[in-house]
Symmetry: C2
Subunit: 117 residues, 2 copies
DNA sequence: TCTATCTATTACTCCATTGTCATACAAGGT
DNA sequence: ACCTTGTATGACAATGGAGTAATAGATAGA
């Protein structure tokens, strides 16, 4: 049986880093833009309304995390998502967050009933 | 059809925060310790070998993120995991990381073959 | 009541990361 | 060759978060 202490530090570290990549709004936005397919840096800059340097940096982070793939064409660099697990994770989290909000709404409705009359 | 720009900033922000909670090794260690069931702060302090203040802080973060539940008993505070989605997410990520490492191993083996003779 | 234990919180330092600016590099077109 | 465009990188300031030490509060027991 697996005990808590049996999980190596290295593993915990890497899992934390993976989640860390997904813990930045700008990176999530970039990933969402890459849902349709590969895009070059300039496309992403225009879509995100931030600096080109910033986009390149975030792309580099995700590239090194093994989430993206890079393809050079002329002076442009095209990035695409290689690891669809990311979208799966985002879907799971979004659904859970939505459920919570709905649950909150139910609490309000229940209170509304007890307050009636 | 959903376009990239249609995702509200607030949603992206919250998803990022959710992943952010899971992006700290100490928190993952605490969650792993809570796999078996609820534990009090002191138990977690002894198991993680860090300060009590640090454990309380991380627990608070996860409590506010809706991941944990708190139960008071005497002077002790017992925490337990309410959102099992977390373990599901960790499992998915761990499996993916394991696959990557195995893939890397395959590359080494393939190179070993091409280098033979 | 006094003490001991357990937990939460504050103030503080330290480290990591984000975003920006400027610059360097590479490739195409004129 | 020159210029333009697209991308990557380094330095920098600002921000945020982790960890620690000290302290306060709460509860059980003597």
């Amino acid at each position: 049986m697996k005990t808590a202490e049996s999980v190596p530090t290295e593993v915990v570290q890497q899992v934390a880093e993976y989640f860390g990549v997904l813990s930045e709004p700008m990176r999530l936005r970039l990933l969402n833009l890459l849902r349709d397919g590969e895009k070059c840096v300039q496309d992403l800059v225009e879509a995100t309304q931030t600096s080109q340097a910033n986009v390149s940096k975030h792309l580099k982070v995700m590239l090194q995390a093994g989430i993206l793939t890079r393809r050079s064409e002329g002076t442009s660099a095209y990035y695409s998502v290689t690891d669809d697990l990311i979208f799966e994770l985002c879907t799971l989290v979004c659904d859970r967050l939505a459920s919570r909000i709905e649950q909150q709404a139910q609490y309000f409705r229940a209170f509304s009933l007890t307050s009636k009359q």
